[in-house]
Symmetry: C2
Subunit: 105 residues, 2 copies
């Protein structure tokens, strides 16, 4: 059963392009991780609202990644991000995919 | 640019299976809509937290669907849903996909 992990960020006014640039230049090491499927960076309609949105093959695959070396490497730079870029704490949410419906081809 | 639309539901305690059954038995008419890519029903880790999660080819494709007959047909049954099933109003959010990273194959 697929699993979706979202981290919601509230970026401070005027710091949006800096935030986007951090994501564009990061090394995520995700693309070779077992059970990783696809990552999206989303920008909401509300000002400063962003979501890092990752689809995993299963909850187990996500949890295995959390405890792995690629995870630690990918997050090493996070400590260097200036705190003033955010207007509040990030909020992590995890979701089980109950139903899926695809475009007919 | 892909576009993701999420509708967040807070389901009342004890009504979760009824809510899931409504989704399983609905006729969405989505799978033949231009620009529709994939629909997921998500269940969060917090009790009663659900998201209807739809990926579109573009914002324009989503907006065209909103004004179309398949949308009206798909939502005709919504009025029949007992209000007591929810613990609060649904919250619709729309997101532009800024970055995508896929699993290496």
């Amino acid at each position: 059963m697929s699993y979706i992990v979202m981290n919601r960020f509230q970026v401070a006014e005027g710091r949006e392009s800096e935030f986007e640039e951090l994501w564009r230049t990061r090394e995520s090491f995700l693309d070779e991780v077992d059970g990783f499927e696809i990552f999206h960076l989303l920008r909401g309609d509300d000002p400063g609202e962003y979501i890092s949105h990752t689809i995993w093959k299963s909850k187990e695959a996500f949890e295995a990644w959390i405890g792995s070396e690629p995870f630690v490497k990918a997050h090493a730079r996070a400590g260097e991000t200036p705190k003033e870029i955010f207007a509040g704490p990030a909020k992590l949410s995890q979701y089980a995919v109950l139903m899926t419906q695809k475009k007919k081809v």
